[in-house]
């Protein structure tokens, strides 16, 4: 294919830092998690205990998937980190493909390349080659690293290749998504939605219990990772499924490339209104137009996620009812209600991290507007810088509460119906979700301050979320010092529902968020735009 080689080299040159961060980061987290799992669950007895409790707990099943075999460190690692690690590999591949196909096309750079001597399919093929190689390298390094740590080679390669295979599938998903829409943002949303559905399908399937629809797990590429059963039988044949799906998706994408014009999507853009609605006449009206799709999408998604997580909570209680011995132990610790609350508190914590993604997206909209030269014409009107920034910050701030309340509502409704107390559970879970608002505001404040002070590094806000995610989810496992854990605002939020809520940490976080936001406003007032 003409031009493929040079396009691949161009992509590698542009992304050398980005790719290095992804590869080193993902492999590093996986291997360090493996070694701490080895330390924490060093004895066979401790692993057996973990297998007996966590592996059959529907809450953990929904969040992390089944623990097939707790007898080795590798088996525990595959359960604890498998789905999340694969989720990140999938995200990486999907972003990479969009970045080198639709995003390039949208900016018009691909036109420049398309006019040079390259085959029609070359840009897509180059993006696929880059994403495919990146995920495969991650898979192989994980496999070699785990083998080096003394795990069984077969299991290590099963887990490594399963990681890579999720990357392959989402390389394909990204390739198709990039053909469907005319904007990179929408393309990423399409692929992101597929990733979300893949996670939810396996969550429902895994937690369904023996009589439930366990087959749902088989519909999800993330479910295939679980079914590969790394360190618990190593069913390499399951990996044929992602390979086949990858092939189908790439063929579909290349057929679509041949069918459409450069710059066009599959669905032609229709004509719109010749006049602006009354609402579109102020900085706020413009921000509403630009932000509403994202806000509505996140509100619905988190509502569904909350409902799915909430549907599992009752199962936690049922599991206890079926096991009198365990019930006795738990009763000593505070009763079954307390265990359900621990579960609900942990899902609310995860949902809060998701809402942090929303808040960064929403805040960084400012940077996109600036780099795409759309801020300039607006700031050349009587709209002040304060009003322009404020109109978007308002969405980040209020939107945080909206998406979190939606998640709490989803969880509360479903759990409430199952335990026969809708009003009470909705109030409790909406309240619990809203308790996290100050921590998410801190993330929003950080993103705004970065945008105002060092605009070129505004996208480092994403790294901030990853750091908070690792601190919160893996911090205890990695046995980090308390001061390190305290860096994350989420550490300071009481574990609600269940824990007592004290106002002090919430007030402090709100103050920190307010200070960061004020800093952002002040710094943006003083800096150059464009």
């Amino acid at each position: 294919m003409t031009g493929l080689g040079s396009l691949v080299r161009l992509a590698l040159r542009r992304d050398r830092l980005l790719l290095a961060v992804w590869v080193v980061g993902l492999v590093g987290i996986t291997l360090s998690t493996a070694s701490t799992v080895g330390e924490l669950y060093g004895s066979p007895e401790s692993r057996q205990q973990l297998g007996a409790t966590a592996g059959s707990n529907p809450a953990f099943l929904a969040m992390l998937g089944p623990l097939h075999d707790a007898s080795t460190t590798g088996g525990v690692l595959a359960w604890r980190w498998g789905v999340f690690g694969a989720l990140l590999v999938g995200l990486m591949c999907m972003f990479l493909v969009t970045r080198h196909t639709r995003a390039e096309e949208e900016t018009g750079r691909l036109e420049l390349i398309g006019s040079a001597v390259v085959a029609r399919h070359a840009p897509l093929a180059a993006a696929v080659v880059v994403a495919l190689s990146a995920s495969t390298v991650i898979g192989l390094l994980v496999a070699l690293g785990l083998t080096g740590l003394g795990e069984s080679a077969s299991g290590s390669f099963a887990l490594g290749l399963a990681f890579a295979s999720v990357g392959w599938v989402f390389t394909g998903v990204g390739a198709v998504g990039a053909q469907l829409s005319e904007s990179a943002r929408t393309a990423n949303s399409i692929s992101g939605a597929v990733l979300g559905v893949a996670y939810l399908l396996r969550a429902v399937g895994d937690a369904a219990g023996d009589e439930g629809p366990t087959w749902l797990t088989w519909l999800s590429p993330l479910g295939w990772l679980e079914q590969t059963r790394a360190f618990a039988g190593d069913r390499f044949w399951v990996l044929l499924l992602p390979v086949a799906l990858f092939a189908v998706l790439v063929v579909a994408a290349s057929v679509l490339v041949a069918k459409r014009d450069l710059g066009g999507g599959l669905v032609p853009t229709r004509l719109g209104p010749a006049r602006a609605p009354r609402s579109l006449g102020s900085a706020f009206g413009l921000a509403w137009r630009l932000q509403r799709g994202m806000l509505i999408g996140w509100t619905l998604s988190l509502f569904v996620l909350g409902a799915v997580y909430g549907s599992v909570a009752r199962g936690v209680e049922q599991m206890l009812e079926a096991n009198p011995a365990l019930q006795k132990i738990i009763a000593q610790m505070g009763g079954a209600g307390a265990i359900v609350d621990v579960y609900l508190a942990s899902i609310v914590g995860i949902i809060a991290l998701f809402s942090a993604i929303y808040v960064v997206q929403s805040t960084l909209r400012l940077r996109t507007e600036e780099t795409e030269f759309r801020a300039e014409p607006v700031l050349a009107t009587p709209v002040s810088r304060f009003a322009w920034v404020g109109s978007h910050v308002l969405f980040a701030t209020v939107g945080t509460a909206v998406v979190l309340a939606a998640a709490g509502l989803g969880a509360g409704l479903v759990h409430g119906v199952r335990v026969g107390d809708v009003g009470g559970q909705v109030a409790r879970l909406v309240g619990a979700a809203l308790t996290h608002v100050p921590a998410v505001w801190v993330v929003a404040g950080l993103a705004l301050a970065l945008f105002a002070l060092v605009p070129k590094l505004a996208s480092a806000s994403w790294a901030v979320i990853v750091v908070f995610l690792v601190l919160g989810q893996l911090g205890p496992l990695l046995q980090l010092d308390q001061w390190a854990m305290d860096l994350s605002p989420f550490t300071h939020i009481p574990k609600v529902p269940g824990a007592d809520v004290t106002a002090a940490p919430l007030l402090w976080l709100t103050l920190v968020a307010a200070a960061l936001t004020a800093l952002g406003f002040a710094a943006f007032r003083r800096r150059d735009v464009g």
């Binding site: 602006a276 030269f373 810088r385 800096r527």
Partner: protein
């Protein structure tokens, strides 16, 4: 007349690059002022400083009697701006953008909006991402020209327009002459010649020439070619005559505009059969200031309007 824009000694650096290096600019109220310079000479940077988007490192700038950095919002009520590279929101239609920008500025002249859409042959129902470069520029132009403001700041507003639309643009600006002050940055010399009352030429962030076109013409030469009755005489020694070429009874030369009269008298002395004289074009003016940036010999006919 009072000054709509007055800038002196403006300096703006981006890291090691000195984008503006002591730039001066004076635009009088009610005039159409041409702002000429090659790519990268600092035109857009100057405009961004005037719009309060960039903060100057040194020098002073005043816009409509106010400070562009301090009094941003009040000043922006009184001006409309067309950026050089118009970027629209992908999912807003052209009509929506025109209304939005107009409303942000405090309202549009509805009649002019409709009339301009028609003259520019712009379909306001298309989404931002589907417009070509020229059509994106038209969206911004309609929004600016239909606004009731005192000052129009136009940064290379016609670089994407075809010649027909360029004519529509010139017509529209001519209709506003006297009612609005216009700062027109451009490197299309014919446009500047057709529209501008006064011109400032900048280079490497400094103003190298400023004045009316007539003023500037005095600084340059008229080219003359003539067919004479007899052999030409008395031209060679005249002050201000350059590049004299004689072929039998034909003569070609260039003459400093100040010495045009003496040179013509000398021609008449030999009896004139045919005469063509070309007034100095802005190209020549422009090229004179940029000559040393162009390779030798490239000056002649290197630019066409």
């Amino acid at each position: 007349m009072t000054a709509a824009i007055s800038v002196s000694g403006l300096v703006k650096t981006f890291g090691p690059t000195r984008a503006l290096d002591g730039l001066d600019l004076a635009v009088r109220e009610g005039e159409v002022h041409g702002f000429l310079g090659p790519n990268g000479s600092g035109k857009s940077t100057t405009i961004r400083v005037l719009l309060g988007l960039l903060r100057a490192d040194a020098g002073s700038a005043s816009l409509l009697g106010g400070d562009p950095w301090r009094d941003t919002a009040e000043l922006h009520r009184r001006l409309a701006y067309v950026p050089g590279d118009v970027s629209l929101w992908p999912n807003l239609t052209g009509g929506e953008v025109i209304d939005l920008l107009g409303r942000l500025r405090g309202g549009l002249n509805e009649k002019r909006r409709a009339e301009l859409l028609e003259r520019f042959e712009l379909d306001p129902r298309k989404k931002g991402r589907t417009y070509s470069k020229g059509n994106r520029q038209k969206v911004a132009l309609v929004a600016a020209l239909a606004s009731d403001v005192e000052l129009l700041i136009l940064d290379e507003p016609t670089s994407g327009l075809d010649p027909l639309m360029e004519a529509v643009f010139q017509e529209a600006v001519n209709e506003l002459r006297g009612e609005r002050t216009v700062l027109l940055s451009s490197h299309i010399l014919a446009e500047v010649e057709a529209l501008c009352d006064r011109v400032s030429i900048i280079r490497n962030g400094r103003t190298v020439e400023t004045g009316t076109l007539a003023d500037l013409r005095h600084l340059t030469r008229t080219s003359v070619s003539a067919e004479l009755v007899g052999a030409p005489s008395g031209l060679a020694g005249l002050p201000g005559v350059h590049d004299l070429a004689v072929e039998g009874n034909r003569v070609r030369f260039e003459v400093d505009t100040d010495h045009l009269d003496t040179a013509l008298r000398a021609l008449v002395g030999s009896g004139v059969r045919a005469l063509t004289s070309q007034p100095p074009t802005l190209e020549e003016l422009f090229l004179r200031h940029y000559e040393d940036e162009l390779p030798a010999g490239a000056t002649e006919g290197a630019m066409s309007s």
